[in-house]
Amino acid sequence: MATCAECKSFFTIPENADDYEQGKGDCVREEKDQKGKYWLSKPVMGGMSADNCSYFTKKLAK
């Protein structure tokens, strides 16, 4: 099972953030339509299954 933590869109929330929780991250996606580019950020837990997420792209190994 792929998880959010493995996704390219997942950014771990730093420990000093007000909304920090262990394993929590921001799911950040870039979108584009005829009016231009915009970025959406939504909190997700890294352990969440990514199997049903059509936006999942595996993070490249650093």
Partner: protein
């Protein structure tokens, strides 16, 4: 070629009217407005070109991609279910916190002010906890319904039993509810519509920052706990601390959630800069925005960029995320001045140029233009060609009676003129002390046809704040200094702004009442024969048998009073439940009074500000004048004949209709008409309404205006004795002459209007349409300024202008795609002309274009024109 104004013989000379800008002589009349936009920078040019406008026409969004989002309604419902058993104010705070913690946050390219209130920049959020009927509207629309629609429907059903509507309806008879839901004698009640307005205390956010407010609440809780633990427990005092402690706790929950949410934006900016953006300049901007959102609104604002972002976040919470509220009420030049000074003049923090500031204000206008308001179809219909009532206020005097205009005022006005958007509208407080430089900027916006600033009389309205303050229930109404701090709440009515005492809900003031329809039912013993086919008011007798004008007058008085009572009672019953069910702890956190007293902003009302909006007043006024003259004075017709003709919609009675149409009309400095109309405004519209006392302990006063309801309600109003056919539009607002009937020139209108004592009304809208070639001529400013000075000397409350030619409006009707920048003033708001229905467009074209003749120039004491 442009049409040049004809020469006028004045003061013994022939005055020519060349264009102020000679290049304009070459632009045809039909095209001038397409040549006036000049965004300050390439950025604002791009932002305007890609703006996600949320305009509506005939209730439909013009941009097909606009739809309702499900995220907010899902999150507020989740929190409501999870917080069962907790004090209601805490539940409200947890609801807001759940939305802010879990919602999508958005940043768009090029933005200098960031933040949106739904999960997609084209979406608008839903508020099932405010009005399930408003959400129902969206659910029923295949185009806009939140998805998945089954889930949204279930959520809406869940809220029905918790709604204000289900609580409040119990206190009205079925007949009364029917009358209110007709929206023909009065507007539907607040408990059913969810339509709201507010003046958020931006001042505390910018001056203190949210963290400081949280500390204050924490200290207050600690103090309360110590008080409760004092020896010799006294329940009569001690138990009062419970609700206060809950309120302060709720404030803390809400405040912390807002700070964390703002910082999620900071994080997003940093992530974009580091992972997505390749342009180094934009990268730097994003990192700058990340820094700002980390500190704003948690900390006090320093420079102008801080202030604009902090203000925007506060706006989103108070008007769009916690609750929907129309408006953009704030004294923007006063709020931003210290930050403008620090950044532009002193250059001590966030240094920038005046032009940078103008760009920032243009960005703000575009943010407002793409802000989605979650109001029902009914409310979208009454703002044709526009988005929502976004209006802020500038100018006037400061607390120490010095001139309130400053370079920041000018930057805001320059931005408005440059970028040309219908929203936000601007109110300018006119005072003789106001500097000429700024008044010229005001003139430029008006001359360019924006329809704003609309002008309010500074001294008249400052005095009104003091008057209302006298009725304060806790003897803490406006002081003489505080009375200077006022803004328009929405289109027309003033209210205090500042750290405390501002209006927080529309149940305090707002909501329409329709005198034209009330006159129609008066003539039919309270029965509405032309629209509802039901009894809409009390039985006041058969008008065919009225023998004197006074009988008619008194019957109208009773019908009007009945509608006022019902309208205000429905507001106060809504307020009763609003303060128990729809508390706003974040707003309370910001208000010094709520913080000090541990009271919610829905409950605490230190400064009464009660009002209702008579709309369609002049149709009723002209009808009374015509009946007095032709039936009771000259006895040319009987009431019986008139009633028969009206019930035939004048068909077969054309000569009679012509007589009634030609009877004296308001706005022509006609002694006969004006004496009756003055009495009508002062004795009935204000006299009866002011006998009512609202929740806050003050009188309720009339705010004459129109929004788009003059068309809507005109369509629901049968034929009237002013010669109008059934269904035709009513007058376009407040104290404005009926379209096309002010035939004696602009100064005759001023003389008529000045006969009504401005202080007897809370506000009264005056629409005027001025000649384009005159306003754009080299004498335009001088003549307009003389007009404004006279208007001010006559103590008239308000005036606003359309400066757009019939030629250009007709051209736009033919080729709308070429006239996207043509803006017109409809009522208390401006609209994109091509987005207004044909019916509405015709009502603008039908307004009389006022020109100034030699006698007007003399009356205005214009002086030497060379």
């Amino acid at each position: 070629m442009a049409t040049r104004h004809n020469p006028i013989e004045y003061d013994g000379k022939i005055i020519e009217f060349p264009y102020d800008n000679p290049a304009e002589e070459k632009i045809p009349d039909e095209e001038i407005h397409q040549n006036l936009a000049r965004p300050t920078t390439e950025r604002t040019k791009r932002l305007k070109a890609r703006c996600r406008w949320k305009h509506a026409t005939a209730g439909e969004f013009v941009d097909e991609s606009v739809r309702a989002g499900i995220e907010r309604m899902r999150l507020i419902t989740e929190a409501h279910k999870q917080s069962e058993g907790k004090p209601q104010v805490i539940r409200r705070a947890l609801g807001l916190a759940n939305i802010l913690n879990k919602c999508t946050v958005i940043v768009q390219e090029d933005e200098l002010i960031i933040g949106y209130h739904a999960e997609h920049p084209n979406y608008i959020p839903m508020y099932p906890e405010l009005a399930y009927m408003a959400v129902q509207d969206y659910l029923q629309s295949p185009k806009y319904a939140p998805q998945p629609v089954e889930e949204a429907t279930k959520i809406n059903e869940y809220w029905k039993k918790y709604s204000l509507q289900s609580q409040c309806e119990a206190y009205f008879t079925p007949e009364e509810l029917f009358q209110m839901y007709q929206v023909s004698t009065i507007e539907a009640p607040e408990f059913a519509t969810g339509y709201n307005s507010i003046i958020p205390p931006y001042e505390t956010v910018l001056e203190d920052g949210v963290m400081k407010r949280i500390e204050l609440a924490e200290q207050n809780i600690q103090g309360a706990m110590e008080k409760m633990a004092e020896p010799y427990w006294n329940a009569t005092e001690g138990l009062q601390w419970i609700s206060k402690i809950d309120e302060w706790k709720a404030m803390i929950i809400a405040g912390k959630a807002v700070v964390a949410w703002a910082r999620r934006h900071a994080r997003l900016c940093k992530i974009i800069a580091e992972n997505f953006e390749s342009n180094p300049k934009r990268k730097d901007e994003l990192l700058m925005l990340a820094d700002i959102c980390q500190r704003m609104p948690a900390e006090p604002a320093t420079g102008l960029r801080d202030a604009m972002q902090s203000k925007w976040f506060t706006y989103l919470i108070c008007h769009a995320i916690d609750r929907y509220a129309s408006g953009y009420a704030q004294k923007e030049d006063k709020l931003c001045w210290p930050h403008y000074k620090a950044s532009i003049i002193d250059k001590t923090v966030q240094p920038m140029t005046h032009e940078d500031a103008v760009e920032l204000f243009e960005c703000e206008r575009l943010k407002i233009s793409e802000h989605g308001a979650g109001k029902s179809r009914g409310y979208r219909e009454i703002f044709p060609g526009s988005n929502d009532l976004f209006i802020f206020t500038l100018g006037g005097l400061n607390r120490d009676s010095s001139d309130g205009c400053n370079d920041c005022t000018d930057a805001i006005l320059e931005a408005a003129r440059n970028i040309r958007t219908t929203e936000p509208s601007i109110v300018f407080r006119w005072h003789p002390k106001g500097r000429e430089k700024t008044k010229y900027r005001v003139f430029e916006c008006i001359r360019d046809g924006l329809g704003y600033p609309s002008i309010k009389h500074d001294a008249v309205n400052t005095a009104q704040m003091l008057y209302y303050g006298r009725f304060s229930k806790n003897n803490n109404g406006a002081t003489p200094e505080e009375a200077h701090d006022w803004v328009n709440v929405l289109c027309m009515s003033p209210g205090l702004c500042g750290r405390r005492k501002s209006q927080k809900t529309r149940t305090e003031g707002g909501g329409a009442i329709f005198p034209a329809k009330i006159l129609e039912v008066t003539l039919n013993d309270g029965f509405d024969w032309s629209y509802a086919n039901e009894q809409l008011g009390p039985h006041t007798g058969d008008a065919r048998k009225f023998e004197t004008f006074e009988e008619l007058w008194e019957a109208f008085r009773i019908q009007y009073r009945y509608a006022c009572d019902l309208g205000v009672r429905s507001k106060d019953v809504s307020r009763y439940y609003e303060l128990r069910m729809l508390q706003m702890p974040f707003v309370s956190l910001l208000d010094d009074g709520c913080m000090e007293l541990g009271m919610d902003a829905m409950e605490l009302s230190e400064q009464p500000n009660g009002w209702k909006n008579p709309i369609t007043s002049v149709v009723a006024a002209n009808s009374l004048v015509a009946m007095k003259k032709l039936v009771f004075d000259e006895k040319k017709y009987t009431m019986d004949q008139l009633m028969t003709a009206l019930h035939c919609n004048w068909e077969g009675y054309e000569d009679m209709r012509r007589d009634f149409l030609n009877a004296p009309k308001w706005g022509n400095d006609d002694e006969y008409a004006d004496t009756i109309v003055k009495r009508y405004y002062e004795d009935i519209l204000a006299g009866e309404m002011r006998k009512i006392t609202n929740y806050s302990g003050g009188p309720v006063m009339p705010v004459g205006q129109a929004v788009g309801l003059y068309m809507e309600v005109g369509a629901r109003t049968g034929p009237t004795p002013d010669g109008r056919y059934g269904g035709e539009a009513a007058d376009d607002g407040g104290i404005s002459p009926y379209m096309g009937t002010d035939k004696k020139g602009p100064t005759a209108v001023l003389r008529s209007v000045s006969r009504v004592d401005s202080t007897s009304q809370k506000a009264n809208l005056l629409n005027q349409r001025l000649s384009v070639p005159l306003m754009r001529s080299k004498h335009g400013f001088k003549i307009w300024k003389a007009y404004m000075d006279t208007w001010c000397d006559l103590n008239i409350d308000h005036v606003q202008f359309n400066v757009v030619s019939t030629a250009e409006m007709r051209a736009a009707q033919k080729e709308p795609e070429k006239h996207q920048d043509l803006i017109v003033r409809v009522a208390g708001f401006s609209s994109r002309f091509v987005d207004i229905s044909r019916y509405g467009q015709e009502t603008i074209i039908a307004r009389n274009e006022q020109d100034f003749g030699p006698e007007d120039l003399e009356f205005l004491n214009v002086g030497n024109l060379v």
